[in-house]
């Protein structure tokens, strides 16, 4: 018993010390990531002055990031709008407030559900792809090759991606809003039997310009966050294919967290 006391205390102490060490390490890692992303953002902004972008690369990114995402966004938005109406169906029927369905759907879609879900889909499709592409370029020395050709990788590769994601996520949010409302109208008609005219009248009379603009601002902020996060993890890849896989995973998780955090911040500041 005399031996067991100190030994138990040592084990407990080690366990406690280990937990502290792990927590400290995790905090340092988080600071490293946030610091790295802030630094990357600064380098991007610095590279945008003077605003000399490569025309070909910018067009390629706008097409890849925006045009190729339209299908996914439309599908997401249609079903998001539809599910909003279906979920409220029971309550609306029981209270006879079908004229409020358009308002409720539009408010939720324009301010929260639309930008967030489209942002998450965008992150999964575009952000992950961007991280994988940059990561592969890193591990195959293509980024170093750019540097050796006297080309700044930030100006040539990252700035067009950053701008494309900012611009395109705002436009995609616009498109998504329209299709979410269409999805809501269709579901209202088919599932609840609400007349199209009643639904659209409810939407229009709700005067939701503020909500619409707030959604667009969120799209803009999410676009910036996703581009910074995905480029950061892509540029940080080390260790071949395994490293690329790990970076894509980190990118998707970090982008999702960034979307939820910035969503909260924008909502609070706007209101």
């Amino acid at each position: 018993m005399t031996d067991a006391g100190p030994k138990t205390a040592t084990i407990a102490g080690d366990a406690g010390g280990g937990a502290v060490r792990r927590t400290g390490r995790a905090l340092l890692d988080a600071c490293d990531v946030v610091g790295g992303m802030t630094l990357l953002q600064w380098r991007i902004l610095r590279a945008m002055i003077p605003p000399t972008f490569d025309y070909d690369e910018s067009l390629r990114q706008l097409y890849k990031v925006g045009v190729l995402s339209v299908g996914v966004v439309v599908a997401t938005a249609l079903f998001t709008g539809a599910i909003m109406v279906v979920q409220t169906g029971g309550y609306v029927r029981s209270t006879g407030t079908t004229s409020l369905v358009g308002w409720a759907t539009a408010t939720a879609v324009l301010t929260e559900v639309g930008p967030v879900l489209i942002g998450l889909m965008f992150s999964g499709r575009v952000g992950a792809n961007n991280t994988a592409e940059l990561g592969t370029m890193k591990v195959t020395d293509q980024l170093d090759a750019l540097r050796l050709l006297g080309i700044d990788p930030i100006r040539y590769l990252i700035v067009p991606r950053f701008l494309a994601m900012l611009i395109m996520l705002v436009l995609l949010t616009c498109i998504g809003d329209v299709f979410a409302l269409l999805g809501g109208a269709t579901a209202g008609r088919v599932v609840l039997g609400i007349d199209f005219r009643v639904y659209w009248q409810s939407v229009i009379e709700s005067h939701l310009l503020d909500e619409f603009l707030m959604g667009l601002l969120k799209g803009f902020v999410f676009g910036g966050a996703i581009s910074i996060v995905s480029c950061y993890w892509g540029l940080r890849v080390e260790g071949g294919a395994v490293g690329v896989g790990r970076a894509v995973n980190n990118s998707v998780v970090t982008a999702a967290i960034a979307i939820f955090v910035t969503n909260f911040v924008v909502s609070v500041l706007w209101s």
């Binding site: 490569d54 070909d56 020395d141 090759a145 540097r147 050796l148 050709l149 006297g150 700044d152």
Partner: protein, 247 residues
């Protein structure tokens, strides 16, 4: 002129370069050779700022570039271009667009003109007929040749080629050798080649730098290399599997 003054570099416990002193003279074809892992690529990467020495200095044309920032390196890299061992072509572009990229980005020529000029550079490496193919559609050796063509578009004063003939068939290898000779003899460029290819080394080199155990073991013309009585050098030249050489 590239000058290494007491350059040392380690990766963890492994010392790759140990107080290396070396001068690469202008307009010469210098081959850096040695067994795998002896720091040949590490040495040349110091000349373009991809690596910094742990101690010692690196000078390019008399300017100490050891502590240069990325922005300061950019103009140096346009004068002295390194072509990697593996192809570093951009997957999303055709071979022609890959070659046209540096000319386009540096704004020397309009886009369509850059593409026309790129075809000429591809012709120099015998690949003009494949100009519109993607890098994935051509052989690795051809990708390497396109990388050389792309580097040439910058009209560098110095070209560093990391194992340019490795993996190439005899004809393609000879074509690269001829290009190296043409660059130095006719165009007055400095060419540094990292290589294991003895046929290429003895066919083209003006000077050979043999690295062994993190240091320069022999530095001289091919004739001196052939005549060397150093058993390590003899084993390397003879390609003997056994001998004093530690790998």
């Amino acid at each position: 002129m590239i000058e290494y003054r007491g350059v040392s570099r380690s990766f963890g416990p492994k010392v790759v370069l140990d107080r290396v002193d070396l001068v690469i003279r202008d307009r010469e074809i210098t081959y850096v050779i040695g067994a795998s892992g002896t720091g040949k690529s590490v040495l040349v990467k110091h000349a373009v700022g991809l690596l910094s020495p742990d101690s010692g200095r690196v000078l390019v044309d008399g300017t100490d570039v050891t502590d240069f920032t990325e922005d300061q390196w950019r103009p140096v890299r346009r004068r002295c271009v390194l072509v990697f061992q593996a192809s570093t072509l951009f997957d999303s572009m055709t071979l022609r667009d890959n070659v046209a990229l540096p000319m386009r980005i540096h704004g020397k020529v309009p886009r369509h003109e850059a593409r026309d000029l790129a075809t000429g550079y591809l012709e120099a490496v015998g690949l003009a007929s494949k100009a519109d193919m993607m890098p994935a559609e051509v052989a690795p050796s051809e990708r390497k040749q396109v990388s050389i063509a792309r580097a040439l578009t910058l009209s560098p004063e110095c070209l560093i080629l990391d194992e340019p003939t490795t993996g190439l068939d005899v004809v393609a290898g000879a074509m690269v050798d001829r290009l190296i000779a043409h660059l130095a003899r006719d165009l007055g460029k400095t060419v540094i080649v990292v290589s294991h290819d003895l046929r290429s080394i003895f066919g083209v080199a003006d000077r050979i730098v043999f690295l062994y155990k993190a240091a320069v073991r022999l530095d001289g013309p091919p004739a001196a290399f052939r005549a060397s009585t150093d058993p390590v050098v003899r084993q390397f030249v003879g390609g003997e599997p056994t001998g004093p050489m530690e790998t």
